[in-house]
Symmetry: C2
Subunit: 502 residues, 2 copies
Amino acid sequence: MATIIILTLITLASADYWTDRAHLIASDSSQNIGSSIVLSDKERQVNNILMGAKFKEYDQGFANPETFLPAQHFFKSKSKIEESGVFKFIQKVPKGASLHSHDSALVSLEYLYNLTYRENLYGCVVNQRLRLHFFDSASGDCEWELIQDLRKQNSSFDEYLRSQLSIIVDDPEKEYPSITQVWNRFMQTFSTVFGLVAYRPVFQDYFYQALKELYDDNVMYIEFRGLLPEVYELNGTTYDPEGVVGLYLETLEDFKSDYADFFGARFIYAPSRSVNNKTADDYVTTATKLKTLFPDFIAGFDLVGPEDRGKPLVQFIPQLLRLSKSMKFFFHAAETNWCGTTTDMNLFDAILLNTTRIGHGYGIVKHPKLLKEVKERHIALEVSPISNQVLKLVDDLRNHPGALLVAGGFPVVITCDDPTFWGAKGLSYDWYMAFMGFASRESDLRMLKQLAINSLKYSAMEEEEKCDAFNKWELMWNRFLDEVLKSSVSKYFDCYTVNRVR
Amino acid sequence: MATIIILTLITLASADYWTDRAHLIASDSSQNIGSSIVLSDKERQVNNILMGAKFKEYDQGFANPETFLPAQHFFKSKSKIEESGVFKFIQKVPKGASLHSHDSALVSLEYLYNLTYRENLYGCVVNQRLRLHFFDSASGDCEWELIQDLRKQNSSFDEYLRSQLSIIVDDPEKEYPSITQVWNRFMQTFSTVFGLVAYRPVFQDYFYQALKELYDDNVMYIEFRGLLPEVYELNGTTYDPEGVVGLYLETLEDFKSDYADFFGARFIYAPSRSVNNKTADDYVTTATKLKTLFPDFIAGFDLVGPEDRGKPLVQFIPQLLRLSKSMKFFFHAAETNWCGTTTDMNLFDAILLNTTRIGHGYGIVKHPKLLKEVKERHIALEVSPISNQVLKLVDDLRNHPGALLVAGGFPVVITCDDPTFWGAKGLSYDWYMAFMGFASRESDLRMLKQLAINSLKYSAMEEEEKCDAFNKWELMWNRFLDEVLKSSVSKYFDCYTVNRVR
């Protein structure tokens, strides 16, 4: 009798245990990004297809850790990602908006490289670094030679040229032992690309292509940062900042008339942070003028350049307070591993200056109060996993702070930063890293849907425009669901639907 | 007049800005580990010395990232750490308790290696792995040869022998491309060391030395995990689990009579997790018996072995619920990067089983609800930075989840896991990593003091004993302050006191 009572008590205790366990698991995952979404029947079917592919790939990684792609350097994982079923699925997802990328690195490396076949392009090597420029006939400060002549003269020139357009190397661990080397190369790459894309006809084709690549990646809208560099014609005509904005707008209109369902673009004026107070004053003047001239297209203001080496926001408080009256801010802050330094402190100033979003914010997870602030004040964090990996903040993306932000339901948007320079394209590669590297094995279609929603919600669009964008995005989303289900009958379903139980 | 008013308004806005900024910074850092401590005058002086050294080293890292030690692999940084002023300071700090280490890896590698010069030690290579055993005259299942003969016969034998006692290699990135290879080597090392330290006279000398090394590192108390393997005498006598506990206690008494101010030791019975239910039932029997026989010395129960490969806690719920009536738990949980897997789910079961502390808990930062639970329920996280680095969870320790736990004031203790196998010793190396790698540049003596306090607070000691330990620790702390101030007049002060302003 006593034995029966004891066994019954243990069984009861055990039953309580499993109930408590289920509650605790549910309570924990209820905070993840996307957890508040309730999937429709159709979405659940699509989710089954997605999760079949995810579990297969994730569990293969668990069994053979060396095969898990978010833990590998992107230069090595890229081609394998392209074979991933999860990646192919993500490519099809209507991803909403691209909210953090830079003017000189918007297109695929292949497209950029092909631009070097244009007529009248000259090259000149200064300090072992290639400079590029279009001329009617070259002259001036450098021994310019036609790129087409250099190609003819030297069979290895093309390989060299290609190396100047990206930071891709065979052995990144060896060639970039620390952040210093990779950032040097990164900045040099900008300097090479600059002369190539600042030639007006190329400038416009290039921007058109940037929009096209996003469109093809199922992205409907972009807010990008730019320096508004001087754009030139062969005849010597140049464009000042207003003129350059005019070129963007002209190309955007062209693109929208060709692709009517592309939603639009906005521009964040983001000049260099490595300047003195006088130049910062000039920024205020230029930015204010641009906002007056192009109130819709100009989303706001930021400062760019190596954050650890440039000036922190705190150096420009008077200017930025003045500018805050007319402009939204989208500050880069704490793209760093150095907690408690001036770079890291940019987070405090960005938030105090009422920034609309934060570029990177890599260091924010070490600031509990700031985490609370961004959540309460709906300040989105623009998280660029691949950029942070290749620029040496983190190796294994499972250790990226984005993992916590995703788990804790923080206002996150996944962004691509400078995809050209590491051979990425569009948003899908970064979304893949977030979905496979940041998120739990269990995170599903709800996360992807929320990321798309976040990208529109945290954009600089006004409310009415946002509503319009959401409606258009929903149409795309429903079309996407139908397409997946249609294609799954033939090819998806067979290979993706695997056992869900671990 | 208008200009004056505008300028005044800007100045006022600006004044508000700086006040808000100071508040936000203070509010954020007020959550860090140690932030509630108010330093005495004497402590402030000592803190100045510490922070002089820290700022110098940290800012050197900021200027030259490749020199920053917590970002480098420990096999490469170790000798440089030993030259660090911050490390030398930390060695002197009375660190309280060591709360997570394992029976076979408690001493310095040098001491372990010297044990191989003992008489009657035989070696035998099976599957390219050295086995060690003491015999009167060897016989049995292996071609045993005397180690002293092997040494004479082959000049490179010693190098080979040394390689079998640790996981240290010249190029860890190359030799351990993923967690699989390093864990294989790690488990093989245990198998070699096992036969060496399970010989009764060595077993007792070894444990005495383990206490001595902690004592020399200014650690006053230890709770360590062990398997209670069969200990043997040359004459064939063996010790069962109770007998082995008896040997520990005998040695502990010897040590305490030699070093009266060493506070004590407790044992966590931690057998392998890679077992079936029948063996798990046997664990319950053994653990209950041990707790009855040695109620003070046995702190509690845990399960060990590769967590990703072994059985998760959820497989043993009935056994563990039974055991929970008589034992405290100290479960390893989520020593992993695989979020949402069975390994990661160990966190949920550990917490539901009311674990006293969590071993590692590396994955917990991706579980917002569990983070809340451990804080509210005072479940300490045993964080072992160097172990997690060398066993391939993270490279740059600034990306270790410990950084967030420190920033958010979670119940953290810094622990050393298996220092022998990577050439560490005591707690100071891991404390150094936490102080330089996890914490903000600004984190100071208050963090170190709180870590010491935490180690006693979250120990398995009963309240009265804890009070006694605190009182003894406080005496050591005050003596430490005096010693630093005394020595700083001559050597510390000159080299450490540098500009505090960045």
